[in-house]
Symmetry: C2
Subunit: 461 residues, 2 copies
Amino acid sequence: MTDANTALLETLASRLPAGTLLGPDDAGARHRADWTRVNACAPAAVARPRTTEEVAAILRACHEVGQPVVVQGGLTGLAGGATPRAGELALSLERLAGVESIDADAGTLQVRAGTPLAVAQAAAEAQGLQLALDLGSRGSCTIGGNIATNAGGNRVIRYGMMRELVLGLEAVLADGTVLSALNPMLKNNAGYDLKQLFIGTEGTLGVVTRAVLRLHAAPRERLTAFVAAPSFAALVALLRAARSEFGGELGSFEAMWANYYELAIAALKANPRPFDGRHPFYVLLEIEALEPVAATARLETFLARLLEAGTAADALVARSLEESARLWRVRESAGEIMMTLGIPMAYDVSLPMARMTAFLERLDAEVPAVLGDQPLYVFGHLGDGNLHLVTGLRSLGQVAALDQIVYGGLAGFGSVSAEHGIGQLKRHWLSASRSPAELATMRLLKSALDPRGILNPGRVL
Amino acid sequence: MTDANTALLETLASRLPAGTLLGPDDAGARHRADWTRVNACAPAAVARPRTTEEVAAILRACHEVGQPVVVQGGLTGLAGGATPRAGELALSLERLAGVESIDADAGTLQVRAGTPLAVAQAAAEAQGLQLALDLGSRGSCTIGGNIATNAGGNRVIRYGMMRELVLGLEAVLADGTVLSALNPMLKNNAGYDLKQLFIGTEGTLGVVTRAVLRLHAAPRERLTAFVAAPSFAALVALLRAARSEFGGELGSFEAMWANYYELAIAALKANPRPFDGRHPFYVLLEIEALEPVAATARLETFLARLLEAGTAADALVARSLEESARLWRVRESAGEIMMTLGIPMAYDVSLPMARMTAFLERLDAEVPAVLGDQPLYVFGHLGDGNLHLVTGLRSLGQVAALDQIVYGGLAGFGSVSAEHGIGQLKRHWLSASRSPAELATMRLLKSALDPRGILNPGRVL
């Protein structure tokens, strides 16, 4: 720790309420890494502001002396964005939390950045509405992190990503300027839509402190179906048929390749298995029903038609909330299972459906040279063209070769990040998805908004 | 015209194919103003590039000498954004037009900026899909203008604004740099989402040349209902009931106040009138039906329930496409009617539903002092909190006083532009909707991306 650091911490301690600043020894392990645990590193200190003004005071002081800051939400990221680098001050939003207000008529929710997603969801549900963003880490991830990473999840096919749910927000710029744009309106074309600067930019252009989110009507019921598909072509046909049949009622379409499915079934000790037979592909399909009885009948007819056509090899509709939750567990246990595989490694790629088969065949051919017997498990949000590839590494030395196969195989047509972001871990691969002119424009924005480069340096760019 | 201008035009003429550049005498009246006709002014010249490279060559040359450029699409704007100011070169995208490709499986359409919206819509329809953006000027407005203004229209309640339909785009920066970000994927979090810089920024940060748009499944049928409401409270209750009953099937909810409705009925010489009686409010409601027969029955039951409860004073369901088109004409003739009223004046404000009654009562009290007997006609996209107020002025001298009443009455809680943008005409009112910190950040972006201020100067900021 340099003298300048020590002086800064003293300045901060004098300007902030007692207990806001934790030294590296008091902060504990929590602030050292995100879910990947890769390159864990204790921050120089942890600042835990309770108000926007405190966030502004912290950034102003850091900006003055050029102190780098890492912004932390629920630390559930998978790209190393919130993992500190040596000497960084961790700015944790954990105490800037809570739902501020909810307007059921307008369908809006105002919330602080450190609020866990599940808490915001529950506030909406209490009013008969829904906050449509949903992902497995809902209990830990925070609204601020969801915004900073433009989170995706299970209902993108119906409601879009986090970007589409943010009506307004408040952010603090690198120099401590508070930019309050807490717009509650669905439509507002008065000048540039500045909130876009802070959505999906992973805390590199500003720190989101509060937001106004759009709520949707809660569906009367969610119907869950589980379907086995005999081939990838059948899986694609199933998606097309489901879109055409259910339109805006199709809430989720989550695909699992057999290797992931069998891994999850074994990990969950699922007994009985959802289906007796073994199949190459499985889909978890959710319908948001306006008229549950009619929709159930329609879903059953739909599945019967697919079975008869051979598009589906087997199918079932959950008969209870409990059965639905059990099926969802197969898909959502990915996060926990990953942790048991070794050094967890999760790819989050996006590519045109027409390219998926060739891409995965190439992986099948090339990955064993790096991973040996350890498979690359595949699942994802097929309706969004988003696949997750998950494995456990024996050593970090395997990363470069595996990255080369996965990201190298996408260059020119795919994205190295569909929903997890770039963070520290995919930074060197950003140029596989973006052109030199795009990268130059990103740098232009970064230097305009954070000229001293104190916000999440070494992330994204 | 200065010597520098003349030299620039000679340079451009030498670098561009013959016929690309039109002098002020050859250009005709078309390029002198947008639909408002306010402050019409002949441009110094009109450049009509056919390719992105030609756009880049034009901007590079203008950037070098600091020549201001006004970007023109279909010239259907209502904020003076495309109306030239003295000495500006008009960059018209009219010849950079046409659908480049369509991928029905992926649901994407790649299109050039100068393509009329209706042409892009038709290309989607030919594949059994829909481009969900829809507005009255569909035959003239262009995709580039729709993107630059983040167009709204009749289906925002279901599909969002243009921003939500743009997957990727190509833009030319002020200095001629081509930024190609023609992403076709639904999800792509690889670095900053640069397309946001060009959506809704009204051509002030770059010129959109091509785009990849998201298509949706075409509904099997659109059901149109026309409902009369006895009070504003009933209108709001009707919206809430429709949202709850139809969820994602509710495609449009267009409200008309009696004064607008009677004006349109008279202008269209509608005979018979849709309803015998006279009512204070009317709603045009569209349902995108997955199962037309069941949905029709459900719509009729829904309307019967509202009539019984007194929420609706009268109601009908269109029995044919022709009847549906007739009802839509009442709402969509606003643009044409406006032109007959004097100097057309259209406000496009956004405000919380809970404030609408008080806002409109204030207008009723204060507007006659400016307009005399001439009413301010009211209609709009109620489901989005977006009202249009339209009138015909006797003189431009009335503008300032009327602006003061309308925009002044919104300060602190509403937006001076829901969907039309700021252009030249609302520039001085932007501060009623945006804070000093927001305006400073907008200026920061403008100077980072267009340091010489050549792109649409005097618009927005």
